[in-house]
């Protein structure tokens, strides 16, 4: 396959799709499948046949539409009519009215304009629109054209330059500039070089990467091949959580299809470039998302991080130069290459460009998967997109950045989504989790819950994280069972500072964030627990283990 072939596939596919007046996209991603999405898909296929409209209406299996709380979700084009909580029973009615008579069925429509208005879908531009199991669908939207542009008219250096100029920063948490990372690996002298795409989304409450892989697996693959060309790597691994069967299936299929038409393998698009891709499965270890631990795991070992330097860019997989990049960062690469770094800079903030995907969950009216421009405020996310807190309850805190993120109060909701602003209020970008808590949550218990998570997920290698967090948790157990003393707070602060600064890897270095932010913003709750032996939310002092609702 060469450039002409790709153009031909795209044209044919577009022509094929233009032949249909309607397109019914049934979301078949992990959020909707458990609630019968595949049955709904089948029902639509049957119904269009029954009404004899299969020639004007295409029924497609797609990835996530974004409204995960009202699944199965179905999107009908043209017009982007979004049906919610569709059941096989109301499929006939939708087809008859919307497709046959041209009248959308109002009572089933998702009416919540604000949910989408403040979002900006770049990475998820294809999610819910294309069939992830068909490579033609991806190609018809301009897929693999960026790869062709790289291989045919750009030098590896030029590709890196374009990424550098886009200002794209790593979406896996720390926000290291992607272009700079690529050029570090490109400059390393040893070969072979490797790429590891990180899809080990272990943070509880986060499913942004999974959704991306389920909805648009080829975007990740194309990004990896482009990165391979830029840094001189011919082998890549996607490290994916084994708990994500649909994402695994989507990627496996996509890899096979790309191999079949020679977008993976030798002589890609008729050039000298080679690239091969393998999946590697995680096995339930949050720490394996850390960049040196992921290497250990890909090598088939205990996922214990090792000190840096040496950095993976020089000594990674089997001591060879390795690029480790979150899949969301990689999926940004194709459209940066196609449209240019300057174009990308028009999204988000000047020093923090582009968008970020978040899973928005907890006590909120519209939970789901969202993609927002950098610079949007937490308040806009929670109230404009999320629709505020349900059941007339009051907002209490928002957890940003997963188990080692921060618990932020009402007073800092004007904080913008960008790496530095979040850091200044005590949170982190993390891999993109936003969980909203209402007044029924106790902040001391919340900090205890996260500490407990980090203890269970600690690899046990370094003293601060292994022994330090365990001692901190005991102090929480005391406070939440009524045995707390005032000096506990000092010890918590002192130990947290030590764990942050002395731990080996990112897990330990960020694990005390929930403790420090709750102490910073909700100190009175600690005092109430310690002095008055009272928990306003009514969560603590109920179980002997000190917690749980």
């Amino acid at each position: 396959m060469n450039l002409n072939d790709i153009q031909r596939v795209a044209e044919e596919e577009n022509e094929f799709q233009r032949a249909y007046k309607y397109r019914i996209n049934v979301c078949c991603s992990s959020g909707c499948v458990p609630f019968g999405a595949f049955k709904v898909l089948k029902a639509f296929e049957d119904a269009v046949k029954e009404f004899g409209v299969e020639n004007i209406c295409k029924v497609a299996r797609t990835g996530c539409v974004g409204t995960c709380s009202v699944g199965p979700a179905v999107l009908v084009d043209p017009g982007e009519y979004l049906y919610q909580s569709v059941t096989p029973e109301n499929v006939r009615e939708i087809v008859q009215s919307h497709i046959v008579s041209g009248v959308p069925v109002k009572k089933y429509l998702y009416v919540n304009e604000s949910y989408f208005r403040k979002q900006q879908r770049l990475v998820l531009r294809n999610a819910g629109k294309i069939d992830p199991t068909r490579i033609q669908d991806y190609i018809s939207t301009g897929g693999y054209f960026a790869l062709a542009k790289c291989l045919l008219i750009m030098t590896p250096q030029g590709v890196i330059q374009e990424i550098v100029s886009s200002g794209l920063r790593g979406r896996g948490g720390a926000g290291f500039p992607v272009g700079q990372k690529w050029s570090l690996v490109a400059r390393a002298s040893n070969t072979p070089k490797y790429i590891v795409a990180n899809l080990d989304e272990g943070d509880p409450g986060v499913f942004a990467n999974r959704t991306l892989a389920e909805a648009d697996p080829h975007a990740i693959i194309e990004g990896m091949i482009i990165a391979g060309y830029a840094i001189g790597a011919q082998k890549g691994y996607v490290y994916i959580r084994s708990e994500y069967p649909l994402a695994i299936e989507a990627l496996q299929k996509a890899i096979a299809q790309a191999k079949e038409i020679n977008l993976l393998g030798d002589n890609i698009l008729g050039t000298q470039h080679k690239f091969d891709l393998e999946l590697r499965f995680g096995a339930g270890a949050f720490v394996a998302g850390e960049e040196t631990a992921i290497l250990m795991s890909v090598e088939g070992r205990r996922a214990q991080p090792r000190p840096r330097p040496p950095y993976p860019a020089n000594q990674g997989l089997w001591n060879n130069p390795t690029l480790i990049q979150n899949v969301e960062s990689l999926a940004n690469a194709p459209f940066i290459i196609l449209n240019g770094g300057t174009w990308f800079k028009s999204f988000g903030l000047p020093n923090c460009t582009g968008t970020k995907c978040f899973s928005l969950t907890g006590e909120i009216n519209n939970p789901g998967l969202i993609e927002v421009p950098m610079g949007i405020t937490l308040r806009e996310i929670i109230y404009d997109i999320g629709g505020g807190i349900p059941n007339g309850k009051k907002f209490k805190a928002v957890l940003v950045g997963g188990p080692s993120g921060g618990c932020l109060p009402e007073s800092v909701l004007e904080a913008q989504i960008d790496y530095d602003s979040l850091k200044s209020v005590g949170a982190i970008m993390g891999s993109g989790g936003i969980v909203v808590l209402n007044e029924d949550s106790c902040m001391v218990d919340t900090a205890r819950y996260f500490t407990d998570f980090c203890i269970e997920e600690s690899c046990g290698k370094c003293t601060p994280c292994r022994a330090g967090l365990a001692r901190v948790k005991e102090i929480f157990d005391k406070i939440t069972t009524g045995e707390g003393e005032l000096n506990n707070i000092d010890i918590l602060e002192e130990a947290s500072e030590y764990i942050i600064n002395a731990s080996l890897c990112g897990l330990g270095q960020t694990a005390p964030n929930p403790i420090l932010t709750t102490l910073r913003y909700f100190r009175e709750e600690y005092l109430e627990h310690i002095v008055n032996k009272k928990c306003k939310a009514g969560v603590c002092f109920r179980h002997e283990n000190g917690g749980g609702k």
């Binding site: 986060v206 708990e243 994500y244 096995a283 088939g300 907890g362 819950y449």
Partner: protein
């Protein structure tokens, strides 16, 4: 051939597909658990021998990752998601209720080996929190009454209508 022989033949195929490479240990453990249901000591010794790895290394890797099980699971498995969203939405209550109702502890099985209760950190269906998984069926926006009823039905072999 006995069931065991058939399983061993399948495992051998997996080992061969991975060229008996040490670095494929995790993939092989995944497949072995899929074939045998769980990873017992003899199986780990077998894998260590086949890959020419020290037994302690294989044991260390197996026990590091929480996905690998070394004990025979119950006939039916109920998995509760303890992810943040589910925790916030009160999954803990459901877990406690299951423990009480069926007389078992999280991580363990009932005395008759019919039901195991596992806890996992986030299955990623957070918008439907709290979520529990009964065998292959995901139950979203779960309540303790609903979950207990579904478990009862499964244990008694009643076909679930909503399936």
């Amino acid at each position: 051939m006995t069931t065991n022989d058939i399983r061993r033949t399948r495992l051998e195929k997996v080992l061969k597909n991975h060229n008996y490479q040490e670095s494929a240990l995790l993939e092989i453990l995944h497949s072995a658990q899929g074939i045998y249901g769980y990873l017992d000591r003899n199986l780990l010794m077998d894998i260590a021998g086949s890959l020419n790895l020290p037994p302690s290394h294989v044991y260390g890797v197996t026990t590091f990752y929480s996905f690998f099980k070394m004990r025979k699971p119950g006939q039916h498995i109920i998995t509760a998601c303890l992810g943040t969203a589910c925790y916030v939405k009160g999954v803990e209550q459901i877990v406690v209720a299951i423990e009480k109702e069926f007389n078992l502890k999280r991580g363990g099985s009932t005395a008759d080996g019919k039901l195991s209760l596992l806890c996992t950190r986030c299955i990623g269906a957070c918008a439907m929190a709290p979520v529990v998984v009964l065998d292959d069926q995901v139950i979203g926006k779960a309540t303790k009454e609903l979950v207990i009823e579904k478990i009862r039905n499964v244990l008694e072999g009643v076909k679930d209508e909503s399936e």
